[in-house]
Symmetry: C2
Subunit: 434 residues, 2 copies
Amino acid sequence: MPCTGGNRHLKTVTVGLLGCGTVGEGLLNLLAEERDEIAARAGVEIRVTKALVRRKDAPRKAPTKGIEFTTRLERVIDDPQIDVVVELIGGTDVALKGVEGALRRGKHVVTANKAIISQYGDRLLKLAAQHRCGLAYEGAVAASIPILQSLDHGLAGEKFDLVAGILNGTTNVILTRMGSEGAEFADALAYAQEAGFAEADPTLDISGQDTAHKLVILVHKAFGVRVPLRALPVQGIDDVTPEDIEHARQFGYGFKLLGIARVTDLGLDVRVHPMLLPIAHPLASVSEEFNAIYLHGRGIGPMIFYGRGAGSRPTARAVLGDLVKVASDDGALVPRLSMRAETAIKLAPAGRTTLMYYFRVTFTDQPHVLATVTNILDECRVEVHRIHAMGRQQGTIVMLTHPAVERNMQRAISRMNRLRYMTEPAKLFPMLEY
Amino acid sequence: MPCTGGNRHLKTVTVGLLGCGTVGEGLLNLLAEERDEIAARAGVEIRVTKALVRRKDAPRKAPTKGIEFTTRLERVIDDPQIDVVVELIGGTDVALKGVEGALRRGKHVVTANKAIISQYGDRLLKLAAQHRCGLAYEGAVAASIPILQSLDHGLAGEKFDLVAGILNGTTNVILTRMGSEGAEFADALAYAQEAGFAEADPTLDISGQDTAHKLVILVHKAFGVRVPLRALPVQGIDDVTPEDIEHARQFGYGFKLLGIARVTDLGLDVRVHPMLLPIAHPLASVSEEFNAIYLHGRGIGPMIFYGRGAGSRPTARAVLGDLVKVASDDGALVPRLSMRAETAIKLAPAGRTTLMYYFRVTFTDQPHVLATVTNILDECRVEVHRIHAMGRQQGTIVMLTHPAVERNMQRAISRMNRLRYMTEPAKLFPMLEY
């Protein structure tokens, strides 16, 4: 193996942009500002020549000299001069068509699109490998936090017991607001929308689906397992009330929407829930719009990455990192499909793993409720750890359980919900105990 | 730029090891355990054929089949079969000779040696570039935390305002112990030694020099500036007392040994001190043997990396990451000397930047001490922010200042120390206010 590389000549790499919204503008700005640095550092000149947009004449907050704006995808992906396609449209419609088309035409692809990578990642990685093209998507998970490249390189090979992430800024803003102000979910959401942290239609965030998308990508990198999105238990945050946050606090726990993947005796357990975690846990103090990823490796122990998970500049930074890499070394990001495949573990069967739970039942004044509830738990083999009974008049019992099999816990909750004096469905959230 | 790369054939890469202590053994174990994975992921087979050791017959806690142990450096670096030299001796004597010798002979080098990189980094990087060899040293800073590769790739180009790190586990164990138990420095040190967190001779750690080594490497990656070690103000932790930790706590601050680099109007200010930082600051909660690096980027905002900064497995993981990279893509780690050079900022002149300070003076019962001290501060243009005067009998005054020019603050302290009723030299520590 002779030493090679070093002072290569400046190479021009031509880029076609799909989408030119805030992240696209952020990228164009970074490319302009750091042109000389990129040349010095990576030996490349990156030129954006075309951009697919909805409206050609929309005003842009970025330098656009030399860029042909077009509304036709083919103008970009059919252009033989274009080496790399950067997809920043989002969603699974035009974006998917664009990414597939680009790879089929032998172009490298950089994208920040969690939806297509989480749902069509296998297909796209195969396509990229087949055409010997790079496919990179650091910006799809936690924006500028370099978690994917770290899992690919510095942490490659490490066996993880747990990966847990706060992967969605919108829901973290809402939960932070509910926790600090005692705000109801709807009010906290309105606040997040006003402050620009939540979209007009926040369904993807609130429902936990956005977190699920990112988790699927993380799990693939960390465990070599591709989890089908539909196989993932996903609970949104619209279920959480200020009361639950307050009860959790009294027990010494915080509330976060977490995407977790943990190695259990039954296999890998992957899920998204609003979860309770000990106040002293490093993830508990991650507030507002920040993201954080906690990993526990068997050799390296605990590790945390923390930073902004969204925004024009942070996401553009991640995209630029991938772009410079693929531009300067066009073999570097070609997927190796066998990655971690040798040691990939199986997914745990649904409902069979154990978790510790928080649950809250609400009922009209009635004798023997506590006895009835504990009886049901007994019969379903759920062991109670701590109880906070408000008193008959207030009609609320909160319990923390010992580790319980998920389907047993759910059976117990179903039975409680059928009791005629329950005034609303029980609240049930798992706990993270690491 | 045609697409290349992809499914390369399995390539055998031959490695010579310099040093086979705990990190070397950790590396040999990882190589054995992950052999198939590395082949699948990176397309390489890594074979260690020789190892330089002090005693050939020492027992090893790792598979050593096929490895020739030798006590002569030349047996390793003169071997034309060896492609990569991994240096794990530490120090600047044989290690430097080995690394230079290997690069001159056209071999890639991976090292975890902060001493040679911080002191001879420029020379070694030039040598590597000249011979078109890779030189990688992720393990030299914060072990398995992938901070250097993140600065080289995902975060490359980002303009940072501040980099602050807890980079030494030993001193963090000691400060944690002093904070939680009120232990004196000497007792906390003895505890750290018993628990295996401190060496028999802990001078490098205690004095802040180990932190300074790592900071110099970090600053080079983050700002493109090579700070001469001797130019760096470095204050050790042997100055810190449980009283200071307790006073800081009462003001709402924690104590950490930090290496910081911050952009000021006068240039880049780089220094190592035991510093006060607000209790709510993310670095304040990093305890025991953990390391953490806090960065503030103009585009990406705050970012934190947290994990174990030492130990056989964590360090070996970082070394393996570099080794696999250099083995699978031998051009990838060849240094580009112009990296960030275009935007490199100047170092701030010594003593001229401003910091907020904590200081404590101790004196025998005496009237007018507070007036005298505040007079001196006035004359030295140091403005007081908060005062905690214990009362004349106790003979202690603690103050926090507004931002003050360093040399003004030092002049004030010198004058106070000359007052005949001062019973010991004043304690002076800067504060991190981010």
